[in-house]
Subunit: 649 residues, 2 copies
């Protein structure tokens, strides 16, 4: 019997080689093969079944997660996949980045082997974004050669660390270092929280879970925790001493290793976040695209089939820019991976020259890609109409689990303001002969960019990467320079920066979007094999860039980069591009190579067999265990029978 | 002892009379008093306690909801509040709108008294937006004078109706009427689903719940249902016969009552949805505003307190337009209430002249206000940083329960396209002497609007309502006329409409935003008592309009309504306005008069005592019942102790 495939016809329509595109998406043939193998292993393993997760109570959900984690760990060892995807969040990267040689040798093997489980305890009830404001103290006691870790206020309670509440045995605690009555600012300390024998919290430690979070599953499967210290003592060598040290005598010293080394860790973490954005976004887009092909509504002629909703231009103009963004984020994420290697090598060679630019670009990319992805997932849910609201669509939980990416590892708005600071500094140094490098190199051509005119005369002129690039460069440069000029109208820069913060954040977005656009162009300049593959990527690139241009038309037109007429032409071209994406839409999401298990969505099923499965899923709800619901006799029947005892008032 | 109030200082800063603003918000003194009284009753009634809802299993959550509903019903009877807020969704309004006299007399009293519980069963697995495509059949059997209700396909299963799955005894079922082999399209039928004795489904009826939905609480407390008919027979007089009838002989007849009467119901429902939008939005804004005042981050000088995050301009430019929107939606909702009365009176006098305009304006307002509100709730959550992600912030569940408003009662994009059709029709008739009325009257001045120039020269010129109104009118008129002109480039209008759908939807948004702006202006022209109240509303109006102008700058500049320079001036003015809102922010959200119970948010507490309460809430989570979590021995300990049995592969 042939397998049912409602998408078969769509798949036949594709104008490119999907298998080759899968390799482009994965980054390399090897990466493709590994991820494909792992995905199949996970999908076929009954322990990893996902259904019913949304119906479990908090406790059962958590236990179910422990069960899966333990099994995953077992499989990782069995398959010798070690290190491949098990991650204790920031615990290990931070020890790597901030510990000295001995500390790394002592703690990392234990952490890798999971003889200890560590969490990253930075945020407190009262401080998240402002790390320098943390209140937990680590006071050196020279008598005993120990630090005394203490929570002096309620707001100093550690709050949010993932894995802290129930699982972790250790925490990397950020606390104000105090020696001899002097505050040296915030440093990291490795603190054991629980006994390795019976998992009970050690004396002086109060630890628990912070309670329910967004969604039904999502982070509720995790024990984000609260932690308080009552004068807990740890040995001196448990302060991370890679960058600064406290001596036996209690002397605080900066190491000769430059502080900037920690930036390496940050680039690492943020490139992972950008990669995650492309994953989450592509998942949502895959679901919405497949369902939009299956779903038909209106437009039947003479009893024929109705129109597939993906054929509506509004559906296309909402969906295809997100599809294009998934590819765009994928490629910029790939480039960030390269950047991480580059930065690491430079740091080792004591070359810190690119750091400010790298910092701005990673902070900005984290911000822009996660914000766009969060919005996109919700848009994909809406694109599925009513059925997108069902848990079985997979989209509600995908949203709930994704959105905190806009907040953790740097609030997205705070990050944009950091990017803006860098932009303003760059502009202010333009005259000084200091040549901007890397992603900010275009500022070196700002004289040209501030007066150039876009040469588009016909819609198809907008297909040229060079034309698009210049428009994005001109917009970014002009917005930055305008902000810089406006800053000069304020008596002092800080006041100006505060007053113009919103404009500055917008300028930062323009800069970051330019980075994404330019990295997509660089990708297209590579040799990309496979029938029609490059052509599809070119179309997606144009969709990405022109849909941004349309969305931010105010920026482009107001700063004089393009004329209103050219904006209209871009929009016309966009409409044509949507028609070119349409026949390839299913194949373009197939190229993500996601298993149905990974997608976890009835609407996004590979075979498109949506309706029978929705129907089947419904009956599994516990409410359907009985036809007459629990509560009928107490609450419904008395009303229907008008047997309500009413109090005399 | 004086009550703790962290917001006291903020409340003192307010420059207007909050008590008077409460009345403006409520609509009248009487409305204020009723809602205040009810809110207090509910808040003080232990049965209505809300906590722990997110931790309940689906079944317990549902039962808990039944318990509350039963209690609410009892209290309604006791307090003689009947009719005030208990609603069976669309069951009653539809019988009122589409039933004939006898049917109303028979069914409405039973429904009001809750001797029967009805749901509105329109949507099917395969059809939602396209109501005319519904597949359920109601075939007249002249032998027995009955209709046979049947579900001929899987996709014809009713799917989504709220209250259907477990609670309803009756349903208003929309089905294709078939007499003598002829299909007369979709009509409404009252069908009993369950026995009134034991609540068991009647023969031929399969009914159940459709399963988990978005969020943890939200609509999971409701039994949205699935329903299938296997040749279920109902008496002929259970077809709603207000508009069309089937005679004893099986003859189908249109009544002389005009079909348009059903529009009354629709206006009623949509004005309720717009009112709900202002409620949901104001709730989210209240939480985010209060927390933004309590939350401090960065900016401490010499050990002084840090900056309240509400003082950051980015926070203001994200939050204050939402605050202004809450007021804007409130006033347009109030006006819609008036419109409903007006339309009802006209319909009774057989005046159908305003119907197309009323339909377009209510459809558009439903779409624009619900989309904006859904996005705004999520933005408010992000404005609260990490803590907004906690269930105890109230924001995740508010989002989950609100978002389907973008989909039910008309998918928001489908509605915009309906508005666009009306706009195109209006434009095409401009030459014909037919004078546009009501919210579309401005099109009658399109000759002026297509060439007028905005006269703003200084930032403060943007404070004039007349200037703003004209800019919004010009933008809306130009976008519509441009679309209409472009339609003419297509060989046929339908093809053009399909191709230009995205532009048309954007033109519709421009039209609807103009309506909201103009109704806000009309409100300001009324006599508004109370010290400083009107002044605050004027500021909010300007914030609402200018923030829209900034967001849609591309529209305004590209269509030549304003120059880029004027756009810059609007933005400057906006910044000044934010500073004027700032000292009044807390009082402006106090004016909503929400109890802490209603808000259901630790972050939005009236007294601002956020941190101790967050800390307290955390410990209530079931995961905190034990220090060592369930699952430790099975799953965590073996890993830590490296006692994992690994399969030999
Ligand atoms: C799911 C999840 C997991 C987490 N995991 C961990 C973890 O493992 N370990 C850990 O230590 N922490 C963790 N966190 C905490 C997270 O890192 C913080 O929530 C994050 O840093 C944001 O800080 P905040 O909550 O203090 O936001 P706030 O800074 O309080 O933000 C509130 C608002 O103020 C604005 N704002 C703040 N400062 C400024 C400024 N200078 N200018 C303009 N606007 C400003 C923000 O934009 C935001 O709108 C987690 C959080 C979540 C939600
Ligand atoms: C919480 C909730 C409660 C509900 N309660 C009820 C109830 O009590 N009773 C009841 O009968 N129903 C109920 N519904 C169903 C609801 O009315 C439908 O889901 C709604 O009408 C949308 O229809 P749909 O799901 O078919 O969306 P679809 O029409 O399938 O939408 C899918 C996508 O197609 C697009 N699309 C569709 N047609 C067009 C077009 N012509 N042009 C351009 N784009 C188009 C849409 O914009 C959307 O992006 C409920 C739904 C929810 C989520
Ligand atoms: Ca739950």
């Amino acid at each position: 019997m042939e397998a049912l495939d409602y998408h078969a016809e769509e798949r036949r329509k594709a104008e490119f080689d999907v298998e080759e595109m899968k390799i482009v998406w994965a980054g390399s043939r090897q990466a493709y093969e590994i991820s494909d193998r792992v995905a199949r292993l996970v999908a076929s393993d009954p322990v990893f079944r996902k259904d019913n997760r949304t119906m479990l109570s908090r406790k059962d959900l958590f236990k179910d997660t422990l069960r899966k984690a333990a099994h995953a760990w077992k499989r990782i060892i069995e398959l010798r996949l070690s290190g491949l995807f098990f991650s204790c969040g920031m615990f290990i990267p931070a020890i790597k980045g901030q510990g000295n040689e001995e500390q790394q040798q002592k703690w990392l093997p234990m952490a890798y082997k999971m003889q200890i489980i560590g969490c990253y305890a930075q945020t407190e009830l009262g401080h998240g974004s402002n790390v320098q404001g943390l209140e937990t103290t680590a006071t050196f006691d020279p008598e005993t050669d120990e630090f005394v870790i203490h929570s002096p206020t309620l707001t100093s309670s550690k709050w949010w660390p993932g894995g802290l509440g129930k699982v972790s045995t250790h925490a990397l605690v950020y606390a104000r270092l105090i020696t001899d009555g002097q505050d040296h600012g915030v440093h990291g300390f490795i603190v054991q929280l629980r006994s390795l024998d019976d998992h009970l919290p050690l004396p002086g430690i109060t630890v628990g879970d912070i309670g329910m979070k967004f969604g039904s599953g999502a982070y509720n499967s995790m024990d984000n925790g609260v932690l308080r210290f009552d004068h807990v003592r740890i040995p001196r060598d448990q302060m991370l001493m890679g960058v600064s040290q406290v001596t036996r005598e209690g002397k605080f010293m900066q190491s000769d290793v430059p502080r900037q080394l920690v930036y390496g860790t940050m680039v690492y973490v943020r490139q992972k976040i950008v990669a995650d954005a492309s994953c989450a976004l592509s998942r949502a887009v895959c679901i919405a695209t497949r369902y939009s092909v299956v779903r038909r509504q209106f437009g039947s002629h003479n009893g024929g089939p109705e129109t597939q909703v993906i054929d509506y231009k509004t559906q296309q103009s909402r969906l295809f820019p997100l599809l294009a963004s998934a590819y765009a984020f994928r490629f910029v994420g790939e480039w960030l991976k390269w950047l991480y290697t580059d930065v690491t090598q430079r740091l080792q060679a004591n070359d810190f020259s690119t750091l400010p630019e790298v910092h701005a670009c990673t902070a900005g990319l984290k911000s822009v890609t996660t914000s766009a992805t969060a919005d996109a997932i919700e848009e994909c849910r809406k694109l599925c109409g009513g059925h997108g609201y069902l848990s079985s669509s997979g989209l509600p939980e995908l949203f709930a689990v994704y959105v905190p990416a806009c907040t953790y590892e740097g609030d997205n708005v705070v990050l944009l303001l950091q990017v803006a600071r860098f932009l303003m500094k760059t502009v202010s140094q333009l005259g000084s002969g200091k040549k901007p490098v890397g992603t900010i190199a275009y500022m070196g051509r700002s004289e040209h960019l501030l007066q150039c005119r876009c040469e588009v005369e016909r819609a198809e002129d907008w297909l040229k990467p060079k034309v698009i690039l210049e428009a994005f460069e001109a917009r970014a440069a002009r917005m930055s320079v305008t902000c810089a000029n406006n800053l000069n109208n304020f008596p002092n820069q800080e006041e100006g920066f505060a007053q113009l913060a919103t404009d500055l954040a917008e300028a930062a977005v323009a800069h970051v979007q330019l980075i994404i656009v330019s990295k997509f162009i660089e990708k297209l300049q590579q040799d990309i094999p496979g029938k029609g593959v490059k052509r599809q990527l070119e179309i997606l690139f144009n969709v990405y860039a022109l849909s941004l241009l349309h969305k931010h038309l105010g920026d482009f037109v107001a700063s004089g980069c393009i004329t209103p007429k050219q904006g209209v032409l871009a929009n016309e071209q966009l409409r044509l591009l949507y028609s070119q994406v349409r026949p390839n839409a299913i194949a373009l999401v197939d190229a993500f190579n996601y298993t149905d298990h990974y997608l976890g969505s009835v609407l996004g099923r590979y075979d498109g067999n949506v309706y029978p499965k929705l129907y089947e899923e419904a009956w599994k709800d516990p409410l359907n265990e009985t036809v007459v619901p629990d509560g009928y006799h107490e609450y419904i029947r008395p009303i229907l029978k008008q047997h309500i005892r009413v109090a005399r008032l």
